[in-house]
């Protein structure tokens, strides 16, 4: 049986592979090629070598956006994961009633799209800011930064919480009981027993929040649109603005080159993170 499956594997894989080739591999390499070109439309590209890449690293807005994105990623990864893990701990306790309701409620923000969330939070935050007499979001990069952190926490905590709950529920009861018999405090049980056991969940959650923070676009566009003066512009929005908000062929290739740099950056950073946390996982 297994042999038969193996023999026909290429046929089973074919539809997905075709879709993947058309939808991802071909445009990816086309994009890679275009990043070395000056062009207005994709079929009318002129090869110019590494010029675009040189300009990427001369472009201050790109470097500023990178700095802002890193700042955002650090704070949002920490806050999302810590809060999500804490919620998961609380909602896996046996003596708490209505945990399913709470899980559903916390998960729900994740079902709303980023653009919609961005606009809703823009209205909310602007109301709060005008009540406390601070400049509104479009003039206030600090508020824009924290607004985005709040928005992302609100949206992603529920999702990460579900993954953590699955991990915590998988910690064998026997281990926890054994620890209790050995006289471990609840803090020791958490750090020495539960945390190592849920390490696979931590790997995946940190990975998801890391890539989501770096790729963040919709929420950024809707909440602040990079205002004031590109101070809250993250990498993805910077690329978009380079490509679409500028007139002239010289900008298209630059935007494309930025996108390639960005893609490599996200892959490298997430691979490093994956190795770092994956090595801490323990096998039962």
């Amino acid at each position: 049986m297994e042999k038969a499956i193996k023999r026909y594997a290429p046929i089973f894989v074919l539809p997905t592979f075709l879709a993947f080739t058309i939808g991802f591999i071909v445009p990816f390499f086309q994009g890679l090629y275009l990043s070395f070109c000056q062009f207005t439309t994709a079929k009318n590209a002129k090869f110019i070598g590494f010029d675009n890449y040189i300009r990427v690293f001369q472009d201050e807005t790109f470097l500023d956006s990178f700095g802002f994105t890193v700042m955002f990623a650090i704070v949002s990864i920490l806050s999302i994961n810590i809060i999500a893990f804490a919620l998961a701990m609380i909602l896996t306790r046996d003596n708490l009633k209505g945990t399913n309701v709470f899980r559903t409620v916390f998960f729900m923000p994740n079902l709303i799209g980023g653009i919609v969330l961005g606009y809703i939070w823009q209205i909310l935050l602007n109301c709060v800011l005008s009540i406390v007499g601070e400049p509104l979001l479009a003039l206030n990069s600090t508020a824009g930064y924290w607004g985005m952190i709040i928005l992302m926490c609100w949206q992603q905590i529920g999702y990460m919480m579900i993954i953590y709950i699955a991990g915590i529920q998988n910690v064998p009861e026997a281990l926890v009981e054994a620890a209790a018999i050995d006289g471990a405090t609840s803090w020791q049980t958490l750090t020495k027993v539960k945390l190592p056991m849920v390490m696979p969940s931590i790997t995946i959650c940190v990975f998801l929040t890391l890539t989501n923070s770096f790729k963040l676009f919709d929420q950024n566009l809707a909440l602040t649109a990079g205002e004031p003066r590109h101070a809250t512009e993250m990498l993805a929005l910077n690329i978009y603005n380079t490509f679409y908000a500028r007139a002239g062929a010289q900008w298209k290739g630059l935007g494309q080159a930025k996108a390639v740099v960005f893609c490599i950056l996200v892959i490298v950073i997430s691979l490093i993170q994956f190795r770092a946390t994956h090595s801490k996982e323990v096998q039962q």
């Binding site: 071909v26 990816f28 086309q30 995946i204 003066r229 490509f243 908000a245 007139a247 010289q250």
Partner: protein, 455 residues
């Protein structure tokens, strides 16, 4: 084992998101070619057949969503009359450049599209046919409506629009003023400040909110900014410049102060006010003045909100130049371009269609009545649009229209810079913040001009 399975599943999910991540990161640019490949296969054969049967077809990528229906009808009428296939596609509001960019990559690319002036032309110059000597060029009432560069005609302005300060005559009379009294910046300022002083008694404010949300900020960072640029160009006798001097920026500050401090809302809230907010305030009679253009005529008179008797458009006085003879700001930023890379038969069909639109009775009537356009062509029919008629009256009375020089602004980025600085100044009206506006205006112009023309 169970653990292993879980981690295996998680890894799969992870790889999937990683790949999805790469997809979206470079996706914006790459989606288009992928779509194109599919579209190419579908559209190409159909296109070919038509070309051989009819000897060319027209594909018009329309910029103005308000006129979509009218264009569709006109295209149908043209097809019935001549048998030539005309496809009209309208880009979503604010998405014209992106739509054009992906459509142009297809084998059935638009044969007729538009650019918004010399700066927009930079993107599409390679695709614009030289229209010198074509029938439609010869129909233009003035060469100034053609978009020319290096002795070539790349675009034909097909609609003239005017903007100024739209005033509610009824409210103005209630406040004790007559339209004829407002004939200079000083008079406008006196009137607006008097209305603000008596705001509680009258129950309305002077200006509708000068919203700096992206749906409305172009009224100030582009249209209002045109005035100091216009007067500087007039004073220096030029029509474009690599470096603006900002000679009239004090006037710009005066009019901006007037707008924001005699408004319906606190200037600090302007950053979140939208174009709809502003229009709604004007429609509800909460404000007397509303800076906008002839394109607003439809929404202001829809459902009988206002009649022609209630409305008037005043020139935007900023206390510069010859105010007694200043007219409305009139010009165009809508230029028709013909795709030079299209099939020869399609190009000919497109030129014939354009010519028909502006010379035939059916075409000119549709453009004037259904679309509400004033078109700068010899056989144009008079439009029922009140503001457009007023522009004609002003000109007939010897007032000189203010031309649209914002098409020479170096880039969108420049406009955004001025817009941001204006918003910051509105929230906190200090000299230091105004200096930031001046810096964005003057220094920003030079640096953006260098960026746009450098490479």
């Amino acid at each position: 084992m169970k653990k292993k399975l879980l981690s295996a599943l998680l890894s799969v999910a992870m790889v999937a998101t990683l790949l999805a991540g790469c997809g979206s990161s470079t996706g914006a640019a790459e989606e288009a070619p992928a779509n194109d490949a599919a579209a190419k296969e579908e559209a190409a054969p159909a296109e070919k057949e038509e070309a051989s049967a009819e000897g060319g077809s027209v594909y018009y990528l329309n910029f103005k969503p308000e006129q979509d229906e009218a264009w569709q009808n006109l295209a149908k009428a043209y097809t019935e009359a001549t048998g030539v296939e005309v496809t009209v596609v309208t880009a979503a509001s604010g998405e014209y450049e992106t739509t054009l960019m992906s459509e142009m990559g297809k084998s059935s690319a638009p044969t007729l599209f538009q650019v918004n002036g010399p700066v927009g032309l930079q993107n599409w110059k390679d695709y614009c046919l030289d229209l010198t000597g074509t029938d439609i060029y010869n129909e233009l009432t003035s060469d100034s409506f053609a978009l020319s560069e290096d002795g070539m005609v790349y675009g034909i302005g097909y609609v003239i629009e005017s903007y100024g300060i739209i005033a509610n005559k009824t409210l103005l009379a209630e406040a004790g003023y007559d339209v004829a009294d407002i004939n200079s910046f000083e008079a406008l300022k006196a009137c607006a400040e008097d209305i603000t002083a008596r705001k509680d008694e009258l129950g309305f404010g002077a200006f509708s909110s000068a919203g700096m949300d992206p749906s409305s900020d172009w009224r100030f960072k582009t249209h209002l900014a045109n005035l100091p640029i216009y007067f500087e160009y007039q004073a220096d006798g030029i029509s474009a410049t690599p470096a603006i001097k900002g000679s009239f920026l004090d006037n710009y500050r005066n009019i901006w102060d007037l707008y924001i401090n005699n408004s319906t809302c606190d200037p600090a809230e302007l950053s979140a006010k939208t174009g709809d907010d502003s229009r709604a305030e004007f429609l509800a009679g909460e404000a007397v003045f509303f800076q906008n253009g002839s394109w607003e005529y439809g929404s202001l008179t829809a459902d009988g909100a206002f009649t022609d008797e209630d409305l008037v458009m005043l020139p935007i006085y900023i206390g510069a130049g010859d105010e007694a003879n200043q007219g409305l700001c009139t010009g165009t930023e809508n230029y028709w371009c013909v795709n030079s890379q299209a099939e020869e038969a399609d190009i000919q069909a497109t030129l014939a269609f354009m010519n028909w639109c502006v010379t035939s009775e059916e075409g000119t009537t549709a453009m004037a009545n259904d679309m509400g356009f004033v078109i700068p062509f010899k056989k144009a029919v008079e439009s029922p649009n009140l503001f457009v008629k007023q522009d004609t009256e002003y000109t007939a009375a010897g007032k000189k229209p203010v031309s649209w020089n914002f098409t020479t602004m170096p880039s969108e980025e420049w406009k955004n810079g001025v817009g941001s600085a204006l918003t910051a100044y509105a929230a906190d009206q200090t000299d230091a913040n105004w200096d930031a506006v001046v810096a964005a205006f003057v220094d920003g112009w030079a640096s953006e001009y260098a960026l746009a023309n450098g490479q």
